[in-house]
């Protein structure tokens, strides 16, 4: 039995994995350096992305296959959708790598760079392999490859953290590990049942001898995958792990890992879609529950990371929503939605990281008790850091699906279309209510951005003569919930002044300047959102 290898096609998977090995070797050869590792890691991801690009140019129906059996079935096949997911995963991993740059440069992390880079590359290799898997064995292996390194990433703590914080990181990692073990067990059980039902481990065109058994198998697999996708009721690990890990790792978990989970669901749904007359009510239930619970809990969060964690749960529901109608169009819709979600979430995380960095240093100086990631730390951001606040606003609007971020709106349309087309009215109504709930979630954040900056200096600056004259004279000095920036009345006689009266309210210095690499990331991601909003090409 000869296996027809076609290694060029698997370049998206091979490149990151090879880079991981190379990084480890390099670390043994030249210990104590960081730059070579970074370059190799970046090159690995870039090569993988370049390898995925030809897949994008295929026409529908074509696939770049590898590891083909003599009988014609291939164990690896990447069609256009798969390539899109692979590209999104690789690029998102690149973004996370850049975000984690600070961890490299910190003196405490010397010698860890190689480990972190290898873990990120390994996990990314797994993520990229998942959507292309064409048999249960590859799927299981790829899924675990995508998950287990992230446990390591979560548990690798910063020496500068307090003991309590590090203990929490261990707790988060344990939660993630337990979850991944349980979900692996469920998927393995499902795989076993699948083989029992179809007589083969290949996913292509299952000819079932026992439809009920096949359905049972897919429900088990789905339950296992729902853990990874953090869909309700399998979501409990998400907030714990997200808040425990460092911010870039959280960004990785909420974007790149989701690509893997969705990729696996897509593989499953495609296989099932070929079987006539099966519907998965379980998918619809997962979607409805995830979005409702995720949004409701996100509505009361006071920390941006927790809010994003619960928003991930809600968005997982949106990603699953179109899949409730097991069709090829639905699969593409889910893929499109996922890409938009990854884009929005990455942009939001980038800004959160930047604000947390800036705020962290500033807060320690002014003795403020606010954590850099708290929602309150974003109050008045539009005044103090407009170039960070506007991209964040755009990201939030993308996630909420409101213009001017048309791409988010189009994604919502795309996700709703299969459901509305099927006439699954109850699910459509649940989704409609959840659009509103989701908007409430993101608007809470958005209104913090628009709000006035903390009024610490204004009470000191309030002077008696300025009180009397102008329109704003009636305002109390301690109004904090005033979205308008006129906390203080403008000096009478200088009408030009009070337009800008609010601007200096922001703390004059908020720690170190945001580094160039973060600016570059913000700029690139924002540009993507804007361009995609004007011309939403490629959304299917």
């Amino acid at each position: 039995m000869t296996l027809q290898l076609n290694l060029v096609a698997t370049l998206p998977v091979l490149a990151p994995l090879l880079a991981a090995v190379l990084v480890l070797l390099l670390d043994a050869a030249v210990p104590g350096h960081r730059w070579p590792h970074l370059l190799v890691a970046g090159a690995g991801l870039a090569a993988g992305a370049a390898g995925a690009v030809p897949g994008l140019l295929q026409t529908t129906g074509d696939a770049r296959a590898a590891f083909c059996l003599p009988s014609g079935e291939c164990l690896y096949a990447a069609d256009r959708l798969t390539s899109t997911l692979q590209l999104a995963g690789l690029l998102a991993a690149g973004v996370v790598l850049v975000l984690a740059w600070r961890d490299w440069s910190a003196p405490s992390a010397t010698g860890r760079a190689a480990v972190v880079a290898a873990l990120v590359l390994g996990a990314t290799g797994g993520v990229v392999a998942v959507p292309a898997a064409q048999d249960l064995g590859s799927l299981l292996v790829a899924l675990e490859l995508a998950t287990l390194p992230t446990v390591g990433l979560v548990v690798l703590t910063d020496d500068a953290w307090s003991g309590e914080r590090r203990a929490r990181a261990v707790e988060g990692a344990t939660a993630l590990l337990m979850t991944s073990l349980v979900s692996f067990g469920l998927v393995a059980l499902g795989a076993a049942l699948w083989v029992a039902a179809t007589g083969t481990a290949l996913l292509e065109l299952p000819t079932s001898r026992d439809p009920a058994l096949l359905l049972l198998a897919s429900v088990f697999v789905l339950a296992g995958l729902a853990f990874k996708l953090s869909a309700v009721p399998f979501h409990a690990w998400t907030p714990v792990t997200y808040t425990a890990a460092s911010l870039p790792v959280t960004a990785y978990l909420s974007t790149v890992s989701k690509v893997a989970a969705l990729g696996a669901v897509v593989v499953l749904v495609r296989a099932l879609g070929a079987v006539d007359g099966t519907t998965l009510l379980a998918l619809a239930l997962l979607a409805a529950l995830s979005m409702t619970v995720g949004n409701l809990v996100a509505l009361v969060q006071t920390d941006t990371v927790r809010l994003l964690a619960w928003s991930t749960v809600a968005q997982a529901g949106w990603v699953l929503l179109p899949l409730a109608s097991l069709s090829s169009r639905a699969v593409h819709a889910a893929g499109s939605y996922l890409v938009v979600y990854v884009l929005g979430t990455l942009l939001a995380f980038t800004v959160v990281v930047a604000v947390a960095d800036a705020h962290g240093a500033g807060a320690s100086r002014s003795g403020s008790a606010l954590a850099g990631t708290s929602l309150e730390a974003h109050r008045g951001l539009l005044r103090s850091h407009p170039l960070l606040a506007l991209p964040l606003a755009l990201a939030l609007l993308t996630l909420a699906g409101l213009p001017p971020a048309v791409v988010g709106l189009v994604a919502k349309v795309v996700a709703l279309r299969p459901v509305a087309g099927d006439g699954t009215w109850w699910l459509a109504v649940v989704a409609a209510v959840n659009v509103a709930l989701g908007i409430a979630v993101y608007l809470r954040w958005l209104s913090r951005l628009l709000a006035q900056a903390p009024p610490v200096p204004s009470s000191l600056r309030q002077t008696a003569p300025a009180r009397a004259a102008s329109v704003g004279a009636g305002r109390a000095p301690d109004e904090t919930d005033e979205p308008g920036e006129s906390g203080e009345p403008g000096e009478s006689g200088e009408p030009g002044e009070d337009l800008r009266a609010g601007a200096p309210e922001g703390p004059p210095e908020r720690g170190p300047r945001t580094p160039v690499r973060v600016w570059a990331l913000v700029a690139v991601l924002t540009l993507l959102v804007v361009v995609w909003s004007i011309a939403p090409v490629g959304v299917v």
């Binding site: 499109s336 407009p386 609007l397 409101l402 213009p403 001017p404 048309v406 709106l409 189009v410 919502k412 349309v413 795309v414 709703l416 279309r417 459901v419 509305a420 087309g421 006439g423 009215w425 459509a428 109504v429 989704a431 409609a432 209510v433 659009v435 509103a436 908007i439 409430a440 608007l443 209104s447 628009l450 102008s470 329109v471 704003g472 009636g474 305002r475 109390a476 109004e479 919930d481 005033e482 979205p483 308008g484 920036e485 006129s486 403008g490 009408p495 030009g496 009070d498 337009l499 800008r500 009266a501 609010g502 601007a503 011309a535 939403p536 090409v537 490629g538 959304v539 299917v540």
Partner: protein
């Protein structure tokens, strides 16, 4: 005489060059550009003063109005592929249904942008030593000042107008939805940031947003269902198919989803609770736009997206819709009789007037549809006029509470008083004013509805709507008695300033013209109503 007038009109029309799609660009681009410029204004090295901000935004609104007028005359079409994956086209164009609403949006947009922004003062507790002392209230500032955030405020107004124009121009269902949604964030900012700080403006703003978003998403679900069934999102194709290929149960379900979504926006009776609160909180220009333009999106959506697209489904729900409309008329009119807040009262009366519009739509006759379209425009003009007056009064009085004794408008502010009388008279539906034709037409159409409508029920609706009309007279008289008549002169308040006078004259003149010459509007809408009704 009308013949020679028509000739003169035709000659004047011939003078206007046909610029083709450039008219549509002229209608939309100035708004977008000015909004972007204004949004970045806060970051300029020297912040622009209030004069330049207002000049810029009024110029943009006027330029856009010229573009809309040109587009209304020549009716150019723009069609560019936009989202290939969904088969969505950037299809913009005006027809008989949308032209009146486009013109209304432009006029009201100019009025709203020209109005001065008064930053409402937060209610302040009296200083400890001065409690119980009657202080003379300060004379309110009526003209524009360098209010903080003025540029953002104008940008939001322009964006709201832009969104409404896009929605009315849209020839594609998804594009209509995008325009519909484009309005939301600016309107939210307007209410939450520039609203009345005395009330819970954040709550009002969020409530507005939530309700509208639920409505628009329900509408989207319906639209997508139709798009899947017909394979296109082109509205003209939908209208020409007339529900072909969609079986009856699906039509009923789609119509239910679409109507529920649009009814939240209109709003129709049990879903109306958000409107009075939002109106009472929004700044004057926001109220004007909300009442005159945004609510029309709901009724326009019913005419454009429901009636011709799923006719059987609409016919199924029409009796219920008519009943809810009549319930809304009665309920809102009764509420107007006891409401103490003047602005909220006008909001309630909006619900009643839109009840007439929805009743006209539900009858399924050409008369009813004509009346509804006329009532739409008439209500837009009347409510804009009333909100200009009432918003100005609220600012001058410091609140809009009717229980507080005020100077009689007849004596203190004759021109505001005259405008209020005109608005209230038009709102009563007096003949010779714009409000008359819409309401009489709706009642008449309800009395003789289409054959497939239950005649008995609609007869009852006609009677109840007439009772509602009588209640309208009662509450209008109440408002005039409490606010306008009398001979009390204290506390003195200043009369309308120049922008207010111009705005009120413009709107008042249009109300009179439409009341005297309803043909002007009816001839525009007549050809399309036949197509919508389909018989």
């Amino acid at each position: 005489m009308t013949g020679s007038l028509r000739d003169a009109g035709a000659q004047a029309v011939d003078l206007v060059p046909d610029l083709g799609p450039a008219w549509i660009v002229l209608a939309l681009a100035p708004l977008l550009l000015a909004a972007v410029v204004l949004l970045t204004a806060g970051r300029w090295p020297t912040a622009p003063g209030h004069r330049s901000i207002r000049l810029l935004s009024v110029t943009a609104a006027l330029a856009s109005a010229v573009g809309v007028a040109g587009a209304a005359l020549h009716r150019p079409e723009v069609a560019e592929p936009w989202i290939p994956g969904l088969g969505v086209w950037l299809r913009l164009g005006a027809d008989g249904l949308s032209v009146p609403l486009l013109l209304l949006t432009s006029v009201v947009g100019v009025v709203a942008v020209a109005l001065h922004l008064h930053v409402p003062e937060r209610h302040r507790a009296a200083p400890p030593g001065e409690e119980g002392l009657e202080t003379t209230s300060p004379i309110p500032v009526l003209r524009s000042t360098d209010v903080p955030g003025l540029a953002t405020y104008h940008a939001c107004l322009l964006l709201v107008v832009l969104g409404a124009l896009v929605a009315f121009l849209a020839g594609d269902a998804i594009l209509f939805f995008v325009g519909f949604e484009l309005v939301l964030v600016p309107m939210w900012v307007l209410v939450a940031r520039y609203g009345d700080p005395g009330s819970d403006r954040d709550g009002a703003a969020v409530r507005f947003l939530m309700v509208t978003v639920v409505g628009s998403t329900l509408m989207l679900v319906g639209l997508l269902a139709v798009a899947t069934a017909t394979g296109t999102t082109d509205l003209s194709v939908w209208a020409s198919l007339r529900g072909e290929g969609i079986d009856r149960p699906t039509q009923i379900a789609v119509a239910a989803v679409l109507l529920a979504g649009l009814a939240l926006k209109v709003p129709v009776f049990p879903l109306h609770t958000w409107l009075p609160w939002v109106h009472a909180t929004a700044p004057t220009a926001g109220s004007v736009l909300l009442a005159a333009v945004l609510l029309k999106l709901g009724t326009y959506g019913m005419v454009r997206l429901v009636m011709p697209v799923v006719p059987e489904g609409f016919a199924f729900w029409a009796p219920l819709l008519g009943g809810l409309a009549v319930a809304g008329i009665l309920w809102a009119s009764l509420a107007c009789l006891v409401e103490r807040d003047l602005k909220r009262l006008i909001a309630w009366s909006s619900i009643a007037h839109l009840g007439f519009v929805v009743l006209g739509l539900a009858t399924g006759t050409q008369t009813g549809l004509q009346a509804a379209l006329f009532g739409n425009v008439a209500h837009g003009l009347i409510s804009a006029l009333l909100f200009v007056v009432v918003g100005g009064l609220k600012h001058r009085w410091g609140s809009a509470d009717l229980a507080v004794a005020r100077a009689a408008l007849r004596e203190a502010t004759p021109s505001l008083g005259a405008a209020l009388v005109l608005g209230m008279a038009a709102s009563m539906g007096l003949p010779g004013l714009a409000g008359f034709w819409g309401e009489v037409g709706a009642i008449y159409a309800a009395w003789s509805p289409a054959e497939d409508r239950p005649g008995g029920w609609f007869g009852l609706y006609a009677v109840l709507a007439a009772v509602g009309g009588a209640l309208t007279v009662a509450y209008s008289a109440r408002v005039l008695r409490e606010v306008w008549s009398g001979d009390r002169l204290e506390p003195r308040i200043p009369d309308a300033v120049r922008t207010e006078r111009y705005a009120l004259r413009l709107l008042g003149a249009l109300i009179l013209v439409l009341g005297v010459l309803p043909v002007l509007l009816l001839t525009v809408t007549a050809p399309v109503t036949a197509a919508v009704i389909g018989r």
